[in-house]
């Protein structure tokens, strides 16, 4: 064999190899082509095996041609491999296509009860002004629920609270969170800024706006100089936080045996914005809480000198605040726990 012949054969091998590579349609086919042309017993090896028959001066020349052929085939193999891989991946992805409009895998939503969340929100607002949370018992003594709050036995003001009594003499179900005032004054020294959320009980027939169990939040602030003006300022700040800044508020006389002076605090009706509607009995106002300056007898019963210390207390119905915030028209929703209700919170 001469140089010319071998060159021509190499050239033909390259042509044939490239064609075979291009013709391979999957990685396995490509592998077969690679073995056939470039393997240890492949055509290129076989062809170059005949190089010994050439004159010595031709051998490097043929070797160089052989390397070029090898390189060309290897480059073509690599390129073809990438092409086939990409095509295979494309094909797989095409097979994996789904209807993306199908719904996702469900997760439970979860919800927090609006009454408890309202308590938390109230605590958050007053917390900004330094109020801290205390807790008191649901089963209270008559002494703390009434007598220490300046409501002796047989006092006409007891009519303000229809009480549920227990079979434990001297104990009743607290009718309000106000006995917490005594608990706080007995365990903390002024300056006091306290909040007491809790469940309360009254002998009250159930309807859309009453229940025999309900939640209240009590507030107490006592030091040497807290005035009714401070009460007003804080209640205004609270009302604006809960019901929107700029909503008008009203401060008017109320009556509680444990505050003097006593206050009823109104906000402009959140339903009709003051125009007058059935919800506000056409007055344009809604009473959201009762308050007042802590009665000197209560300060004394809490162990404080009423000549030195003064302050205010307030009590609000969590249910009422929640009703106004969420636009609920029946407080029975709170305790019925219908999922259709709970899931909205």
């Amino acid at each position: 064999m001469d140089l010319e012949t071998i060159s021509a054969r190499l050239s033909a091998l390259q042509e044939a190899g490239l064609a075979a590579i291009a013709g391979a349609t999957d990685p396995e086919g490509l592998e077969t082509v690679q073995v056939a042309y470039l393997g240890r017993k492949g055509e290129l090896k076989t062809l170059l095996g005949g190089i010994g028959a050439l004159p010595a001066e031709d051998r490097p020349h043929v070797g160089a041609i052989g390397n070029r052929v090898r390189e060309a085939l290897e480059a073509a193999l690599d390129a073809r491999r990438l092409e086939l891989d990409a095509a295979a991946l494309d094909a797989r992805l095409a097979r994996e296509a789904v209807d993306v409009t199908l719904p996702g895998r469900p997760f439970r939503r979860g919800s927090l009860h609006p009454l408890i969340e309202t308590n938390r929100e109230i605590a958050r607002v007053f917390g900004q002004f330094g109020f801290v949370v205390y807790e008191g018992p649901e089963v209270e003594t008559d002494v703390r629920n009434f007598q220490a709050l300046n409501i002796p036995p047989d006092h006409p003001a007891r009519d303000l609270w229809d009480t549920l009594y227990t079979d434990m003499p001297g104990y009743l179900l607290r009718t309000h969170t106000s006995p917490g005032q005594i608990h706080v004054m007995q365990q903390a020294a002024p300056p006091i800024r306290a909040l007491l959320p809790g469940r309360c009980f009254r002998y009250e027939a159930v309807d859309a706006s009453h229940g025999f169990e309900f939640f209240q939040v009590e507030g107490l602030m006592v030091d040497e100089g807290t005035t009714m003006a401070d009460l007003r300022g804080l209640l205004d700040a609270f009302a604006h936080a809960m019901f929107g800044g700029g909503r008008p508020t009203r401060f008017r006389p109320g009556y509680y045996p444990f505050t003097e002076p006593s206050v009823a605090f109104d906000v402009q009706c959140v339903i009709c914005d003051g125009a007058g509607c059935p919800s506000c009995k056409r007055t344009g106002w809604m009473t959201i809480l009762g308050a007042g300056m802590v009665h000197p007898v209560v300060l004394r019963n809490g162990g404080l000198d009423p000549e030195r210390y003064q302050g205010f207390a307030f009590g609000m119905g969590t249910d009422r605040i929640a009703i106004l915030r969420y636009g609920i028209d029946d407080i029975r929703m709170f305790i019925e726990n219908d999922l259709r209700f709970l899931e909205q919170f």
Binding site: P103, H113, L115, V132, E135, T166, M168, P191, D236, P306
Partner: protein, 825 residues
């Protein structure tokens, strides 16, 4: 208190429209809760004059009347079934097209062959009086043709008088408040008596056994009277004020009660034996038939009005039937007394007889009203019934107390209110509620609180102080703070400026709700819905838990609204399962709920309450969907939930052990006691996780068959919370994993295996996970294979194979030695 404005105007001028007046009263502390326009629903009802009244030819009970309703109106022929009409009378006429209260329309109708062009109205049909028996006969001066609403319409304010203001439970009292608001003057009714005949004292005596219970008793006698209806105006006023007109005598006492706030009782004088009235406590065994015709056994602390024969009435609460003023009464005795408020309140409560009278007595009475009220009733009875007032009163305590002096410091008022009010303004404001002020003297005592010594003024402080002279009707003003309220009230609370506090802040206090809120947030984040259920549940709820109705540890309510809410819950379970059942009715059967709340018990004579967390899972917990099968709730759901909650809080659930004893509501084979690490390494019981017993679910009417519950002590959780949270460095060296399939017998539990592995592999063990559980061939019956993956890691170095093998060997040896477990290879 219902206040007809036409009546109120007798005592004070009112120029304001009703809404404006209502606002002013509300801002003064007399909250107006409603405004009723009486007559607003009388449409086309006019004053008519009966020109003729003749029998209906075709009926023996109908009358045919001819009615004139104005000079230029055509005459109307109107049929009526009432028999009290006569020609010449003026009556309310509903002309065709009229609408009566309640929406009833009046048109031209035919009755027994005659046309009726409208209707004559009774007082009851208009709501003007309560008389439904006959046509309302109007006074002869009623203007014919005028709309009834213009003549007899009225506006009634519903005023919420607070318990401390008994003095304002009257028209006169509210007239004073109107005067304070507007600056108008109060007009007292003119009380003039013309007395004649025998002296009252000659035929009437009053003995009071206990002056503490009856500090004053004033009596008068009226003779020669004729019982009949009171004037229409009076009936209309009483009706508008919410009282039922009865007769001229009874109406007179009710009229005065509403006018002055003084409850007064009238007796038939003939029923008082020997004219001797005795005020005393009941004797054992005494009985009395009260006005409501109920025979009552009297308890010995009941204050009575009696005569020598026995009880006549319950003092201040209700009279007796035997001495009641009746149609045949010709002479009456008027009782106008002051009683001990507490005694009256107790009596009214004991016999469940709370009346307008007792409500006023229990708030305390102004002493002088006993005299004034007796005179006023005598005057009105004489005027309305033609009686003669016997000369003189019987009065057990004629001396009347003077106004009290209440020293106060204007500077303290300013300090309390936070509003700079000049002393001169304070005096002017107090004058508007009839409180005069004078200068204070050295030695005057400023009352701070009842039962506590006041502040005695020295020469310097007396110069700054004032004395409020409290009129006798204001029994509520007792201490300095009361004066402050009065000043603020009359000035207007709304004029107190709002400001934010500048006083020192309290010391920091950790929020006791923080852990609870973290738990709530975590559980809601895990997809649970928070519920709030009743703390009061029924004995049946407790019975189903195995707690007997009469269990001594249960706290019961003695006056429950219903038996279903008569006991304080010992457990959160009944509330949670009730939510389950209620939602099942709405076809919502897959639930995940939790509640944070208190449970109650009686322990050692004291009430104890415990804060608890209850979790209830029912139905599908996976959220079945097109690509996901349902997974009914079971014990492992709730166990995993509690584990993850504790992990979130930084608390390790140490152990779950099979409950040593099972409650009747728990599945005997699926109830675990959960323990966590407490202080000083002690194991603390956190609570129980269980599937409810099928019989329990059946007993509450639940349809669900797959339910899992956890009832946990929040107190235990809170106690276990780490006070400080410190970062623990984690090793940077590689960890290795080894799987062990551990075969145990019937008597061993997974919990025991886990405990042994943890103890034997410490301190190299960084993770332990049960990834497979197998029973069946080739294992022997009762054997189980637990496949655990151990993650091992040294703190400071890469472990060698020898070290790892040694550690695993230790575990295997411990399992074999302590549990007899073998390794399955």
């Amino acid at each position: 208190m219902r206040v007809p404005l036409s009546w109120l105007r007798e005592y004070v001028d009112v120029d304001l429209p009703p809404e404006a007046l209502a606002d002013r009263l509300t801002l003064l502390g007399m909250e107006v809760q409603g405004i009723e326009r009486r007559g607003a629903d009388w449409q086309r009802i006019v004053v008519g004059e009966l020109l003729s009244v003749e029998p209906h030819p075709g009926s023996d009970h109908l009358l045919v009347t001819t009615v004139r309703t104005g000079p230029s109106e055509p005459l109307l022929t109107i049929l009526t079934g009432a028999s009290n009409v006569a020609a010449g009378q003026r009556v309310p006429v509903a002309v065709p097209g009229a609408v009566l209260p309640g929406g009833r329309r009046i048109e031209v109708t035919r009755m027994v062959g005659r046309e009726s062009q409208g209707m004559l109205c009774s007082g009851d049909e208009l709501g003007l009086t309560t008389d439904a028996d006959g046509i309302l006969i109007l006074p002869s001066e009623a203007p014919v043709g005028a709309a009834m609403a213009d003549v007899y319409g009225d506006v009634v304010l519903d005023v919420d008088v607070k318990p401390n203001r008994g003095d304002a439970l009257s028209l006169l009292g509210l007239a004073r408040e109107v005067a304070a608001a507007t600056g108008a003057r109060v007009r007292w009714p003119e009380i003039v008596l013309s007395e004649s005949g025998e002296l009252a004292a000659d035929r009437l005596t009053v003995e009071v056994a206990d002056e503490r219970l009856c500090p004053r008793f004033v009596a008068r006698r009226v003779d020669g009277l004729a019982i009949g209806p009171s004037p229409l105006l009076v009936q209309a006023r009483l009706t508008a004020a919410g009282m039922r007109p009865v007769s001229n005598v009874v109406d007179a006492s009710n009229y005065v009660m509403l006018e002055l706030g003084k409850p007064i009782h009238t007796f038939d004088a003939a029923a008082i034996e020997g004219g001797r009235i005795i005020v005393r406590l009941a004797r054992p065994g005494e009985r009395l038939e009260t006005l409501d015709h109920v025979e009552r056994e009297l308890s010995p602390d009941t204050l009575l009005i009696a005569d020598p024969r026995g009880p006549l009435g319950l003092a201040g609460v209700m009279g007796g039937a035997a001495s009641e003023v009746s149609d045949g009464t010709t002479a009456i005795v008027i009782e106008s007394a002051v009683f001990d408020p507490v005694s009256i309140r107790r009596t009214a409560h004991r016999y469940a007889l709370r009346s307008e009278a007792s409500l006023r007595f229990e708030k305390g009475q102004e002493t002088r009203l006993a005299r004034i009220g007796a005179d006023r009733v005598a005057q009105l009875v004489a005027a309305w019934s033609g009686g003669r007032v016997a000369p003189g009163r019987i009065d057990t305590a004629p001396e009347e107390p003077a106004p009290t002096r209440l020293p106060f410091r204007p500077s303290r008022v300013v300090r309390l209110l936070g509003a700079p009010i000049e002393t001169g303004e304070m005096r002017a404001l107090l004058a508007r509620v009839e409180i005069e002020t004078t200068t204070a003297r050295q030695g005057d005592e400023v009352p701070i609180a009842a039962g506590m010594p006041g502040i005695v003024l020295d020469a310097a402080s007396a110069g700054e102080a004032l004395v409020a002279v409290i009129p006798t009707h204001r029994r509520d003003l007792e201490i300095e703070a009361d004066v402050a309220e009065e000043i603020a009230r009359v000035r207007g609370y709304d004029r107190i400026p709002g400001r934010l506090p500048e006083t020192p802040m309290p010391v920091y206090r950790p929020d006791p709700r923080r852990a609870v809120d973290a738990i709530r947030d975590t559980l809601a984040g895990r997809g649970l819905d928070e519920v709030v259920t009743h703390a009061l549940i029924g004995p049946a709820d407790h019975e189903r838990l195995g707690i007997p109705t009469e269990d001594p540890a249960t706290i019961r309510v003695t006056n429950p609204l219903s038996v279903d809410h008569s006991q304080l819950r010992r457990s959160l379970l009944p509330g949670l399962t009730r939510v389950l059942v209620e939602n099942e009715r709405q076809r919502r059967e897959d639930l995940a709920l939790f509640e944070v709340g208190h449970v109650h018990e009686r322990a050692g004579g004291e009430p104890r309450e415990h804060s608890m967390l209850g979790v209830l899972l029912a139905g599908d917990q996976a959220g079945a969907a097109w690509n996901q099968p349902p997974r009914p709730a079971d014990l492992w759901d709730v166990r995993g939930l509690v584990d993850s909650l504790c992990a979130r809080l930084g608390i390790e659930v140490r152990h779950a052990v099979r409950a040593p004893s099972i409650a009747p509501y728990e599945h005997p084979g699926r109830t675990a006691v959960l323990q966590i690490g407490g202080p000083e390494g002690r194991a603390v019981e956190l609570g129980r996780a269980f599937e409810p017993h099928p019989r329990y679910l059946e007993s509450i009417g639940a349809r669900a068959t797959h339910v899992a519950v956890a009832l946990l002590s929040l107190e235990a959780l809170q106690e276990a919370l780490r006070p400080s949270h410190r970062y623990v460095p984690f090793p940077r060296v590689p960890a290795v994993e080894r799987d062990l399939a551990i075969v145990i017998g019937e008597r061993q539990s997974a919990g025991e295996v886990e405990r042994v592995v943890r103890e034997a592999a410490a301190p190299l063990l960084r993770g332990l996970r049960l990834f497979d559980l197998y029973d069946g061939a080739p294992l022997a019956p009762g054997e189980r294979s637990l496949a655990f993956r151990l993650t091992l890691q040294a703190a400071d170095r890469t472990m060698t194979d020898d070290e790892i093998d040694a550690a695993v060997g230790k575990v295997v040896d411990a399992l074999a030695g302590r549990l007899g477990a073998r390794i399955r290879s």
